[in-house]
Assembly symmetry: C2
Homo-oligomer: 315 residues x 2
C-alpha cells in the first residue's frame, strides 16, 4: 500500500483537522476515525471528529468515542473524509471546507477530494489508517490499537470473510501487542445481546419456511410486544438462515406501521438481491439489500418468490 | 513452548506410529492428528491414524481425512495420543502398545505416557503440532496448513475466545502463507449446515431456560428423530446462548443411550466450567468443558445448577 506523498505533507503542514465519516457509522468508520484522531493529536494537531449520527450503543466501548460530535463546526478546517469518498455520504452536502483528503477502501463513487487515497483492495479503512500511523512513525497506543482492531474485525467478520489475509492477521497481531484485547472486543461485538433480542430471534426462527433455495422468516408486531424487543434488535437476523448450505437467499420480513413489511434480503452471491429489491423500489448491494411492501404477509412472500424466480429465469 | 527432547528422539528413532485422538473428535483433534500424520510421513515414517468414531461430516473437507480408521491395528506400534492425555478418552482402554507419547493442551487427567508433552496454556493442540513440525524442520504443505489452521480456528472460535493472542495470529498468518484459505475454512465451519441441523437448532433454542446467569438448552432423542439430525450436528449449539450479555454459562444437554445426557458447558470466563465438569467426572477447559450424567433431565439440570452455585460460593 502506497500512501500518497501529498497526504503526508497535508498532515504535516496543517495544524487542525475536521475528520468525518459516513452516516449510520459501522465499526470501521468509527474505529478508523478515532484512531486517526488520536494519532494526529499525539502529533500535536487539533482534531474535530464528526458524524451526522450518534455513535450506536454497540460501539460505545471504543476508546475516545465521546469525542464524536454530531454538529458541524463554525470555523472551516481542512477535512479528512474516512471510509467513504463522497461528502454526501457523511451528510456534508453544501458544507464549505478549505481543503480535503479522502481515505477510503470503497470503490470510488465520486471524484471529491484535493487528495485522494483509495484502496479498494484493503480489507478495511482501519488497515489504511494503521499504515498511515506507522508511516508517520507514531507510537500505536492501546486506545488506537483497540479502535483499529475493532475496525478491521468488523469489516473482516473477525477474519472469516474473503478479505482475510496473512497480512491482516500480522497487523492485528501487532495491534494485540500494542494493547488491543481480541477476546474482549469479540465479546462486545458478538455476545452482548439482550435476553429480549435473543427471545425474538427464537420466535423469528420458528417462522422459518424454505422454498427451493430461499429461506423466509418474519417478525410480527405481536412478536415484538411479546418479547419486549425493539425493531433495531432484528439487525443481522437475516444472516442466520444463511448458515444452511442449501440456502442461497434469506429473506426476513419485519412488520411495520400501516400493514406493511420491511424486507431484508441476504444472498450468498449467486442471486443479485439488489436487483430483486429494485423491483420493489428498494436497493442495496449484490449480497445485502432491502425494500418495503404494503401487503399481507402471504402476498408479500409470494411476490418475492415470484420476483426471484423471474430474475433467475432472466439470467 | 519447549518440546521435550525425548519426544524429538522418539519421533526420529521410531519408524511407524499409531496416532489416536479423543472420541467425538472436534476440529482440533482431527486437524492436529492429520497434520502430524502428514508431517511424519513427509519424514519417511509410516502412520496409522485412528479414531473410535467416524470423522463428522463437517470435517470431511480436511485434507487426508480419509486416512482415519475406526479399527485398531493388529500389529503393535508406538502410540502418539493427541488432544487428550488418557487412552480411555480415545477408546483405547486395554489396548496394548509398546511405547507412547502424549501431545495435549488439556489439563492433565492421567499420568499416562512414556513421554508427556502437555501445554495447558496452548490455545489448541494444533499450535503444538505446528511448533513440532517447525522444530523437525519440515516444510508445512498446503494440506498440513489447512489442517492446522482449522484446528486452531475451531479451538479459538476463529480468534474470538480469550486464548487468542498475537502469537496465535502470527502462526495462522504463516499457515495462510503456506496455503490455508481462511475464508473457505470459515465458510465450511460456519455456513454449511444441513437443513436438518438448522431445524434441530431451532428445536433446541425453543427449550431455552434461563436461571440467573445460566442458560440451559437440551435435545431429546425425539428431537433427533423428528428433524433427522445426527448427534454430531449439535456441535457449537452450546455457543448460541452465550450471545446474550447476561449469560455467563451456557449448558447444553444431549440425550444419549441409557437414559443419560452428554452435557456441554460454555463459559465466558467468570466461571471455570472445567472445575464444574470435574465434579461429574468430566473435564475440559475453563471456557469449554463437558461430562455425562445418568439422570432425568430435570434432576440433571438441578444438579448442574447446584454445582455452579456451590462453585461460585467457594471462589
Amino acid at each position: 500500500m502506497r500512501i500518497p506523498d501529498k497526504l503526508l505533507s497535508f498532515i504535516k503542514e496543517e495544524k487542525s483537522f475536521f475528520i468525518s465519516t459516513h452516516i449510520n457509522p459501522d465499526g470501521d468508520a468509527l474505529g478508523s476515525a478515532l484512531a486517526l484522531s488520536l494519532a494526529l493529536e499525539s502529533l500535536g494537531k487539533k482534531t474535530v471528529l464528526h458524524n451526522r449520527d450518534r455513535v450506536p450503543e454497540l460501539y460505545r466501548f471504543l476508546p475516545a468515542h465521546e469525542k464524536f460530535t454530531m454538529s458541524l463546526p463554525g470555523n472551516r478546517q481542512p477535512l479528512i473524509l474516512l471510509d467513504c469518498n463522497d461528502p454526501g455520504r457523511a451528510g456534508l452536502n453544501g458544507f464549505v471546507i478549505p481543503s480535503s483528503a479522502v481515505i477510503d477502501h470503497h470503490e470510488t463513487v465520486s471524484d471529491f477530494g484535493d487528495i485522494r487515497w483509495i484502496e479498494p483492495k484493503a480489507a478495511a479503512t482501519g488497515i489504511m489508517v494503521y499504515y498511515l500511523i506507522k508511516k508517520l512513525e507514531l507510537k500505536i497506543t492501546q486506545d488506537m490499537a483497540t479502535n483499529l482492531y475493532t475496525a478491521i474485525a468488523v469489516d473482516s467478520g473477525t477474519f472469516r470473510y474473503s478479505n482475510t489475509s496473512s497480512e491482516l492477521l500480522r497487523v492485528c497481531a501487532e495491534l494485540i501487542d500494542s494493547g488491543a484485547d481480541p477476546a474482549s472486543i469479540a465479546l462486545t461485538l458478538y455476545e452482548t445481546w439482550s435476553v429480549r433480542r435473543f427471545r425474538l430471534l427464537i420466535e423469528v426462527l420458528n417462522t422459518l419456511e424454505i422454498v427451493d433455495d430461499i429461506a423466509v422468516t418474519f417478525a410480527t408486531k405481536e412478536m415484538f410486544t411479546a418479547t419486549g424487543a425493539a425493531p433495531e434488535d432484528t439487525e443481522h437476523f437475516s444472516n442466520f438462515p444463511r448458515m444452511m448450505e442449501d440456502i442461497e437467499v434469506s429473506a426476513f420480513f419485519r412488520e411495520i406501521d400501516g400493514a406493511a413489511w420491511k424486507v431484508s434480503l441476504r444472498s450468498k452471491g449467486g442471486v443479485d438481491v439488489a436487483r430483486i429489491a429494485e423491483r420493489f423500489q428498494g436497493g442495496g448491494h449484490r449480497n445485502a439489500a432491502g425494500y418495503m411492501i404494503k401487503a399481507a404477509m402471504k402476498t408479500a412472500k409470494e411476490k418475492l418468490l415470484k420476483a426471484i424466480r423471474e430474475d433467475k429465469r432472466s439470467t
